[in-house]
């Protein structure tokens, strides 16, 4: 088998439970050198995947957290005029004030490009930004270069980074953007998978507790008319809360006695609805 990218294969990481399908998609995207766009409910491990890849391939991870007001240039580089002004006034930094290049700071994408080793670049929650940002960014990632206007210099990527882009699907992404990415939607883990995930996070958790907690968790998720259903993150925190409570007895979960409901349901309407539903009906 030829491996065009010359990379080692991604097979999983110590804190991330990987399903086979996703591993294949990651490997194909790396071989094609295309960005991988991940969508899915919050808490399905989109961000964790990038951490997992970086860990398993031994590459540094660079995270770009997209904000709604962000301009593309911020992600590429910053011209630090303030420091330059300060230096020109006091002149005690040893930097050459007449050389603007000294005051160019690389942004996250810029750093991924200039890094001497191959990196994993995670662009988190791309959907928050506007469409222009998304399209312009894809241009940069396609060309693997950008210009620094202030010093009239082109930055070319030394190594093409492995690019993972996540989206919470609040907005639909534009067609040209989608056209340049590979796409995967991470479904919510089923209970077998969830047991593995819990095991990775709590290796010495009491089997009984884990079993009951996961069962109760899925029952609670199935509850109708919930706006924000609890996700993996909530389950992990919930289990942490229960194992920290000395008075807690896993047998009570069986009886439909759910402690720390607030850890699972974070919207007040959802919390109220869950509480009344639990009071009225028994889960099991």
């Amino acid at each position: 088998m030829t491996d065009h990218s010359g990379l080692s294969r991604f097979t999983g990481a110590s804190r991330y439970v990987l399903d086979n399908e996703l591993a294949k998609i990651v490997n194909i995207s790396m071989a094609l050198e295309m960005p991988l766009l991940l969508k899915g409910e919050p808490g399905t491990g989109k961000t964790m995947l990038a951490h997992g890849i970086a860990e398993s391939l031994g590459m540094p991870l660079i995270v770009l957290n997209v904000k709604s007001s962000m301009k593309l240039v911020e992600a590429l580089y910053q011209y630090d005029t303030l420091t330059r002004l300060n230096d020109s006034r006091f002149g005690d930094s040893g930097r050459d004030v007449s050389n603007i290049e000294n005051y160019i700071r690389m942004g996250k994408i810029g750093r991924a490009f200039t890094s001497d080793t191959k990196t994993v670049l995670l662009i988190d929650e791309i959907d928050k930004a506007d469409t222009d940002f998304q399209d312009d960014m894809l241009d940069v990632l396609d060309q693997m270069e950008f210009d620094i206007i202030e010093i009239d210099k082109t930055v070319r990527a030394k190594n093409r980074p492995v690019i993972i882009i996540t989206s919470n699907a609040k907005k639909d992404l534009s067609d040209p953007f989608l056209g340049r990415c590979n796409f995967h939607h991470i479904a919510f883990p089923d209970d077998r998978m969830m047991r593995d995930i819990i095991h990775v996070h709590f290796p010495d958790l009491d089997n009984n507790l884990a079993q009951n907690a996961i069962m109760a968790f899925f029952k609670l998720r199935e509850m109708s008319s919930i706006e924000k259903r609890p996700a993996t993150r909530e389950l992990i925190n919930w289990i942490r809360a229960m194992s920290a409570d000395p008075d807690f007895n896993p047998k009570n979960l069986d009886k439909g006695d759910i402690p720390f409901l607030g850890v699972l349901f974070k919207k007040s309407q959802d919390f109220a609805r869950a509480a009344t539903t639990l009071a009225r009906t028994r889960l099991f």
């Binding site: 194909i28 071989a31 969508k39 990415c181 796409f183 199935e222 109708s224």
Partner: protein, 398 residues
Amino acid sequence: MFIDFFYKLKNLGIPVSPTSFLTLHKALETGLVMSLDDFYTASRSILIKSERYFDLFDQIFAHHFKGADLPDPSEKELSETIRFLLEYWLRDPKILADAMGIDENKLAKLTPDQLVEYFKERLKDQDGRHDGGNRWIGTGGTSPVGHSGYHPGGMRVGGISRNKSAVKVALERRYKDYSKRGPLSQAMMGEALKRLRNLVPEGPKDKVNVDASIYQTMKNAGEIEIVFDRSLRDRLKVILAIDNGGWSMEPYVKTVQTLFDYAGAQFKELKIFYFHNTIYDNLWQDPGRHRDHVKVEEFVRFDPQTRFILVGDASMAPYELLARDGTIYVHDRSTMASIERLKFLSDTFVHSAWLNPVSAKMWHYTPTIDMIAKIFPMFELTLDGLEEAVKHLAAGHN
């Protein structure tokens, strides 16, 4: 290679681009795609760009590589009808036999399989010859049969698919719940809510955005350019009228109500009324429809800018809509044909919409749906339909 497959995807409505098809071939060259499983994963991640199409992709993949049935709504509708017939048959063979005009004893001799085949033939027959003759068969598409069991219990999404063949995985249709087709269900609440949250008024662009103005002015080299933003508007008032009578609406009433309850905070005012089938002299404020009524005439007192949203299947016998005393309740005498009432309401409220859980494809089979759709802009009660309706309701301020 796989050109057939590509066009099959395209023809069945998945937006696939030639570029991505070429990328797929590049992927095949890398040597990473060694089996049908790999091909399934690779082609899906490269060709399909939205989870909404995963379900359709699964079906087409299964069809192309294994010859499974292609999605065909009429076929589905039919099999649901047959299931309904079978259940009915088990309960009371005589009525069914009479309704279909066949000999009960003759049917009794058939095996279950033959029975199903027989029903199928009969139904196809019936479709071709006349619609609406035997009412409950004719309206089969819009009645309980069309919708029961469309969303079998809960989400079934698999994490590990190691031991299954791609075709089996595809056949499982794990992404069914993400598909945009099919009526609204409780499981789609979150998604539907996002659509509804777009229902905000649009003010004129008359507020100066100082920051953007300065930026644009600098960009223009000092030539002043003023940037305007939309000013904030008062929130919308919404009246929701729900058809909560009869089993055909049963599954949707709760969903719709919860949906608007949740969204309630974003509206200035949300009033919910109830009716059965169509509106006569009164609308009811209690779900039981007997305590608090409001005369339709009184609706003129509401702000005409109120968004008036009706939810109902709009399916009934034509006389219920057209006759002067069409109501099916004896105590509920009416002085005006219901269709006049509806026209009155649609004249009163400039912005109105009718959400119909019946699939738009079936609308033409029920005359009353057509009639009502001429009065109120009608939308499917699906995620897509909701999006359209919200767009329609939010547009046109003052």
